[in-house]
């Protein structure tokens, strides 16, 4: 039995000019059926717009916002804080597509680890994920009291600094921005992206895997739960059939469309296929206020 799925659009790194176009085109795209955006992070150097800043600019525009981030560029505390901020502002409609590609310069400077010596990227990424996980739950919403009469602003006993001490990362925490558990940022990996993604699938912290076009991800034996799969649509023309097939596959939580290489970076956002899929009843709509975790559903538990 297939069900309607939310549609995300994978947005390539944008110049300021194309980011302004995105802002103008977005209302129509959301109206047509786009539930969320996955904002790619461009390579260092070229003048593209940072995806976390673009997400901040779009927080009042409607769609859920997934920000791609590379571990080689962002100290985990800084990234965790930006994502927690986005999650708080959007009511839990933010997340990160993490690319585990090595150690960032700031961590290296303070820890003394040469990034070139970090060869086990799976372990490095697993450690980074653990830091994010711990930071995102370090300042629960219920710690905020605001008791003006008693002069007690917050209950620090409910704040849980992780005091993380791994082989690469040492992060005391806690974050200084609180969050409800239900609004926690979504954490996704890309199946064909960073090294070692397959080995991380059993990590409890991972919520979703962005798959290759027309494929699904094999969960390792012994895994207790599968991350949700975000099915990346192929560049083919039978998209409605492909969405129908993806919806019928257990564990598929969303479909993702991207502009074909060499075309207008916003082509996927403005494609008439979106409205056609909506009119065919294939897209999940009307979810502009609910947290991503609720939109995408719980992780599928694997039978023992």
């Amino acid at each position: 039995m297939s069900t309607a799925l939310p549609l995300f659009v994978l947005v390539p790194p944008l110049t300021a000019f194309d980011a302004a176009r995105l802002v103008r085109e977005l209302p129509a795209a959301v109206d047509a059926g786009v539930a969320g955006l996955i904002l790619r992070e461009g390579p260092a150097g070229p003048a593209t717009i940072d995806p976390s800043v673009l997400a901040g600019y779009l927080v009042d525009s409607g769609p859920a916002l997934i920000v791609e981030a590379h571990t080689s560029r962002h100290a985990p505390y800084n990234l965790a804080r930006r994502l927690q901020s986005l999650a708080r502002i959007t009511g839990g409609r933010a997340g990160v597509l993490l690319q585990g590609d090595g150690l960032d310069p700031l961590t290296s400077t303070n820890n003394g680890n040469d990034p070139a010596t970090v060869v086990d990227r799976e372990s490095a990424t697993a450690e980074y994920l653990a830091v994010l996980d711990a930071l995102w739950s370090s300042f629960p919403e219920e710690a905020l009291l605001g008791d003006a009469a008693a002069g007690i602003f917050a209950n620090p006993d409910l704040v849980r600094p992780p005091n993380f001490a791994g082989s690469l990362y040492r992060v005391a925490g806690a974050l200084n921005i609180p969050l409800q558990a239900a609004h926690r940022p979504l954490l996704a990996l890309e199946a064909a992206g960073a090294d070692g993604a397959a080995g991380l699938l059993d990590t409890a912290t991972i919520d979703a895997i962005l798959t290759e076009p027309s494929s699904s991800v094999h969960t390792p034996a012994g895994a207790s739960a599968r991350p949700a799969q975000w099915h990346r649509l192929s560049a083919g023309i039978d998209l409605l059939e492909e969405i129908t097939a993806a919806a019928g596959r257990p564990g598929t939580a969303a479909v993702v469309r991207e502009s074909p290489v060499g075309t207008d970076p916003l082509a996927a956002l403005t494609s008439p296929f979106i409205r056609a899929a909506r009119d065919a009843g294939l897209l999940r709509l009307g979810d502009s206020d609910i947290p991503l975790r609720q939109l995408l559903g719980p992780r599928e538990v694997v039978a023992a």
């Binding site: 260092a44 593209t48 901040g56 961590t107 400077t109 917050a154 992060v171």
Partner: protein
């Protein structure tokens, strides 16, 4: 001084005083919603202010039990504000100690471009072990080494901006606020807007003269530096009501918070003393020998040496804040105060820190700004739409360093 002055509003979460969050004019938790910041920014834009300013540090305030703290990450917060406004400048604080220069150059440039050229970066070096421990360190780096890194990081970021060449305002504005010896050197060398903290007109005059002298020593045009002292505002319809409001704000500061903060500022536990004892000046180190945040220690020390206060008097004077000057009075009196500093040459404008937010800023925007406008001291309309336009600061020479940012520290 002729011309018009500049005004920022420092959206310092619930307000500048330690008990601001308790004031009945505003919900206690309002500063933990992003609407708080967007609303104040829109009000600032209606009042034609140069910019909104977000102070920040990458750490949880250890005093959170007793007062509100910084929360939203500044570039995310300012990006949301940018989308909700058109002209107001956007100045955010990011640490040079705890950010990578390549990464923040791109992130800040992105915000500048999306906003149409309205971004300023307030460079801080971030004192304290609490922040240091979020980035793999056990202790804070030594004071002067933080400023050495800051010069390298700022130089690298500005070079990256110039190479990118996409800023609608030519280049984002560099803002700096350190009042220590090393901080003043950094400000004079690379700061275009300098947030300062001066309690007296003489301190303000001396600081402005000093920074401009330092700038000139680096080959910069003295006029290419804008000095904005911080000023906290307590405004009411009558002088008596303003004084009452000030007293109420002192009463609202949770006493355990105030004494703990003062202990950290002075370097010894003030609870060892009776609140009505005079502050023992022989226990106070010379500022350059003090670690941590030297700017405010200098201010507090200056006040102590002038006034010989009791601990209670000192805490009431500070209001649980860091030591910025507090202007208490009617809208006319506050306007007179700002005008006097401006005309005396002690300030090019002010970084306004309202007593409580947002209501205290509403008073300032709707009561004080019109007086300054009527006197010809402040703009009635924006002439341009970039932060540089508002500040009257074209892109100018900055003596960057070629030294590489250290890969270990």
């Amino acid at each position: 001084m002729t011309g018009q002055l500049h005004l920022n509003v420092n959206i310092l979460n619930a307000g500048v005083f330690g008990g601001s969050w308790r004031h009945p004019e505003n919900p206690p938790l309002s500063s933990y919603s992003s609407e708080h910041y967007v609303g104040i920014a829109r009000a600032a834009e209606r009042a034609k202010l140069d910019a909104v300013f977000l102070a920040d540090g990458p750490a949880l305030d250890p005093d959170l039990r007793y007062r509100s703290g910084n929360s939203f990450e500044p570039t995310v917060n300012l990006a949301q504000i940018a989308a909700a406004t058109q002209d107001i400048g956007l100045i955010g604080t990011l640490s040079s100690s705890y950010n990578d220069p390549e990464e923040i150059a791109g992130r800040l440039a992105s915000l500048d471009e999306l906003s149409g050229g309205r971004l300023g970066w307030n460079v801080v070096t971030t004192a304290g072990a609490v922040a240091a421990r979020n980035f793999g360190r056990d202790t804070e780096p030594e004071h002067d080494s933080r400023y050495e890194r800051a010069a390298h990081v700022v130089s690298r970021v500005v070079s990256a901006w110039d190479a990118r060449g996409t800023s609608p305002q030519g280049r984002p504005v560099v803002v700096q606020a350190g009042g220590s010896t090393a901080g003043s050197q950094l400000a004079g060398r690379l700061g275009e807007v300098i947030f300062s903290a001066a309690q007296t007109l003489e301190e303000g005059l001396a600081f402005r003269r000093s920074i401009r002298d330092i700038a000139a020593s680096f080959g910069r045009d003295r006029a290419s530096v804008v000095i904005l002292p911080g000023v906290s505002t307590v405004i009411a319809s009558t002088e008596k009501e303003a004084a009452q409001r000030r007293a109420e704000l002192s009463e609202l500061v949770p006493w355990p918070y105030a004494t703990k903060r003062l202990s950290a500022q002075l370097g010894f536990d003030v609870s060892d003393y009776d609140p009505d004892d005079r502050v023992p000046q022989d226990r106070l180190p010379d500022p350059d020998a003090a670690g941590g945040a030297q700017t405010f220690y200098r201010l507090v020390l200056g006040y102590i040496r002038r006034e010989n206060p009791t601990f209670r008097g000192l805490i009431n004077h500070l209001g649980g804040g860091a030591g910025h000057r507090i202007s208490v009075g009617t809208p006319e009196q506050v306007a007179d105060d700002l005008a006097a500093w401006f005309h005396a040459g002690a300030a090019d404008g002010f970084n306004v820190m309202p007593d409580v937010l947002p209501s205290g800023f509403t008073e300032f925007a709707e009561q004080v700004v019109p007086i300054l406008q009527q006197r010809g001291l402040f703009r009635r309309e924006y002439a341009g739409s970039t932060l540089r336009s508002h500040l009257g600061l074209p892109v100018s020479f900055l003596p960057l360093t070629d030294a590489a940012v250290a890969t270990s520290w």
